[in-house]
Structure formats: structure tokens, C-alpha cells
């Protein structure tokens, strides 16, 4: 495998030498991250207790919250808590539903908690990040629109609805994009993972569908909660936009 990888890199270097350094950097980052991830999961499985898993989930969600606030170029010290709470709350119900479904199928709770939570958090990172970016960009660009509507009778929520709609659309579009792919050709990684783990194809299909459903609900719930909880940092008591 190493030889094949080396050959591929050599071919790329032949066509574009400057690209070689980038491949090297990315490979180092990827390998280090995989080692770290492997170590964390190994530790969690060794501990097999609820507080370690909860602590891991809390740390991961807080990091996701920090990254998506940073991507949207907002003040993390103001928004970290509301965004983390929104992500955690939005994640909890779908995760609980997934855990209960998998438990009924006879899986051990501590074995499935980390992979299921990791899949949901991964999807949430993409969706919630796009939601927050689109929502704040939309708010910044359409202040005239907002002021016009509020001045002529709209409540704060009514005037925000176009931005909320666009934010929610942005949250679910990546997942919807994955769902409409020709799955016979672009086989989902999760489905392959389940097959590799020895699951029956029918079980793998049901599990994949359940996870997609849970991801979709986690993204919608988290995004709505995020918009609600972050609102007082976007608008003051007189409906003046205070984030620029």
C-alpha cells in the first residue's frame, strides 16, 4: 500500500512539483489526526463508562461550535455557549433515538455510542456551519429589508423569517445532495463500514437510513436552536443589528 501511495505521489510530483509539499503536509496532518482519533476511541472503549463518553461528546461539540463560529467570523466569546448548547440540544434527541433503535437490535451501548455520536457530529459540523454562515451573511446583507418590514408592522420573528429559511436550507442541502446521489455507484461510506464490520446488507441499509434521518433532524433542530439562542447577540432590545 505504501509503495502504491509513493507511486501516486511521484506521478503527481512529475506533473506538478509544487503540489508535492501540499500532499506531504496534508498526509502528515491526516495521519496525526487519525492516530489521535484512534487513541481517543481506544481510551473510551477501555474506560467504557458514561462520564468519559459524555465528556468526549461535550469536548467534540464545543470544538465544532468554536470552529463554526470562527468560520462565520463571529465573536466566539459571546456565541460559544449558545451555539454549544444549541448543538448539544439538537443532537441529543436524534442520538437518543438512534441509540435506542440500535440497542433493540442487540448492540452494546458503549460500543455504539461513540461511532453514532461521531457520525452525527460530523454531519452536524458541515450542516450547522453552512447554516450559521448563510444566516449571518443574510442578516448582514439584508438589514434594509429587515428594517422595512419591522417599520411596517412585522414582528422581529416575521422580519427574520427569510434569513431563517435560507439558513435552514443551507443546513440541509449538503445532506440532501448526498441522498440524491446514485447510491449504486457512489456507495455511502457508512454502509460500507457496516458491511466491513460484518453486518447483513439489510441491517446496513436500515442502519444507514436511520442515521440519515437522525442527521437531518439533528441539523434542523440545532440550526433553529442556534438561531434562537444567538439572536440576542445579533439584535439589541430595539431590534438594531449589532454584529458587523
Amino acid at each position: 500500500m505504501l509503495l502504491l501511495f509513493g507511486m501516486a505521489v511521484a506521478l503527481l510530483a512529475l506533473t506538478d512539483r509544487s503540489f508535492l509539499m501540499r500532499i506531504f503536509q496534508v498526509t502528515v496532518i491526516h495521519v496525526s489526526q487519525m492516530l489521535l482519533l484512534g487513541g481517543c476511541v481506544w481510551l473510551l472503549w477501555r474506560l467504557s463508562c458514561w462520564w468519559a463518553d459524555t465528556l468526549w461528546l461535550l469536548l467534540t461539540v464545543t470544538t465544532v461550535a468554536f470552529l463554526l463560529i470562527d468560520k462565520a467570523r463571529l465573536n466566539w466569546y459571546k456565541l460559544l455557549l449558545p451555539v454549544t448548547v444549541a448543538l448539544l440540544a439538537g443532537l441529543s434527541l436524534p442520538l437518543l433515538a438512534l441509540l435506542m433503535s440500535f440497542r433493540q437490535a442487540g448492540a452494546g451501548l458503549w460500543q455504539i455510542f461513540v461511532p453514532l455520536a461521531a457520525v452525527l457530529v460530523g454531519q452536524l459540523y458541515v450542516g450547522a456551519s453552512r447554516a450559521l454562515q448563510t444566516y449571518t451573511r443574510q442578516l448582514r446583507h439584508t438589514q434594509q429589508h429587515y428594517q422595512y418590514m419591522v417599520a411596517n408592522g412585522a414582528t422581529h420573528l416575521e422580519a427574520l423569517m427569510p434569513s431563517v429559511r435560507r439558513g435552514l436550507k443551507a443546513a440541509v442541502l449538503p445532506l440532501l445532495g448526498q441522498m440524491v446521489k446514485p447510491l449504486l455507484i457512489v456507495v455511502p461510506l457508512l454502509f460500507c463500514g457496516l458491511l466491513l464490520a460484518g453486518a447483513q446488507p439489510v441491517v446496513a441499509v436500515v442502519a444507514s437510513l436511520l442515521i440519515v434521518g437522525a442527521s437531518l433532524s439533528a441539523q434542523v433542530i440545532s440550526s433553529v436552536l442556534m438561531f434562537c439562542l444567538a439572536d440576542r447577540f445579533f439584535y439589541d432590545a430595539q431590534d438594531r443589528f449589532i454584529v458587523y
Partner: protein
């Protein structure tokens, strides 16, 4: 009566005082169009007031009273455009405004809106005509109009004659000349 008493906005070089009375046309002029728009937005409570106060019939504009202020006012901007570059933008329509919970019970239809627009200016290709017609049909006692068409001045006089307080901004001599009170920035 809408009153601004020695009001200083953030970024503005000087204070502004005015008293807009019922049945009169008060026109803000001078300065750039952005600055004039800011003063109208300040009357709606959207701008930070550094000093002085804005009041309506003696009631000062505060976070607690801002909803009452807005319920007494209708606002017709000169245009509705996104700030900066956006890939997709749908400006609010007249239906959006009349579909709001607060305006749902108003007896307004498309034909009434068309009639009002014709009343303002028979050749109503300019977007400002529709924005003014919408604000006017809301039937509120104070009408804030940003840079109206000079052709709509008669209509604005009629609105004032019906007992409304009309505050407008303009750089056009034809508009400022027709106002009952001119306030220079």
C-alpha cells in the same frame, strides 16, 4: 407631534432638532442621501442616539416604547437593495407587508394598491411609487418617506391634509419647496 430634541447620532457631526406636526409636510434636506435615511431610521428607533431624545406626543423613544412608536409609523424607503454582493436576493413584496399579522385585517387588495399607485403617479414605473403606496395604505398617523418622487408631492400633501404627519427627505428643490417645514442638516 413627533419631536427630535438636540439629537446626536453616532457618526453625525451635529445635532438635529425638529417638530413634525399633524397635517404638515416636514422635509429633511442637505447632506448625503445616506445621512438623510439614517435620520428617518433614527425616528423608527434603528439608530443609536448618543445624546438628546426623540419623542412622540411627549413619550420618549426607549426600548420599551419602540414598538408603540413603530405601530404609529409607516415607512417608505427610496429603494430596497441588499448591502454588498449577494448571489440571490428577493426584496419584500407588497403582499409580504400586507400578509403580516399586524396588517392582515387591512382592507387592501391588488386593485386598491394599483389605484393608490395611479393616484400617486399615473406613470408608476418607479419602485418608490409602490413603496409609498404600501406605506400609505397601512393607514398609520405618521408617514416617513425617504426621497419621494417629485411627482408624488401632491399626493403627500393630500395625506397631510387628512391629518397625517408626513416626514420626508429630499434634495430636490421641487419637493423641499412644497414642504411646510424644511429642516437643513
Amino acid at each position: 407631534m413627533l419631536e427630535l430634541n438636540e439629537v446626536l447620532l453616532e457618526g453625525e457631526p451635529q445635532t438635529l432638532s425638529l417638530m413634525a406636526h399633524e397635517g404638515e409636510l416636514t422635509c429633511l434636506t442637505g447632506g448625503s442621501s445616506e445621512r438623510l435615511t439614517r435620520w428617518l431610521l433614527a425616528m423608527l428607533g434603528f439608530e443609536h442616539v448618543k445624546s438628546g431624545y426623540i419623542s412622540l406626543d411627549g413619550e420618549p423613544l426607549t426600548p420599551q416604547s419602540v414598538a408603540i412608536f413603530r405601530s404609529m409609523m409607516a415607512y417608505a424607503p427610496s429603494q430596497l437593495e441588499p448591502i454588498g454582493q449577494v448571489t440571490c436576493y428577493t426584496p419584500p413584496t407588497a403582499q409580504d407587508v400586507f400578509g403580516l399579522k399586524a396588517n392582515r385585517n387591512l382592507p387592501v387588495s391588488n386593485s386598491i394598491l394599483d389605484e393608490e399607485m395611479r393616484h400617486i403617479c399615473p406613470n408608476h414605473a418607479d419602485n418608490r411609487v409602490q413603496l409609498l403606496a404600501v406605506a400609505s395604505l397601512l393607514g398609520r398617523p405618521i408617514l416617513l418617506v425617504d426621497n419621494p418622487l417629485p411627482q408624488s408631492i401632491d399626493y403627500l400633501h393630500q395625506q397631510a391634509a387628512q391629518g397625517r404627519t408626513v416626514v420626508l427627505t429630499s434634495q430636490e428643490a421641487m419637493v423641499t419647496g412644497a414642504a411646510n417645514q424644511i429642516v437643513e442638516l
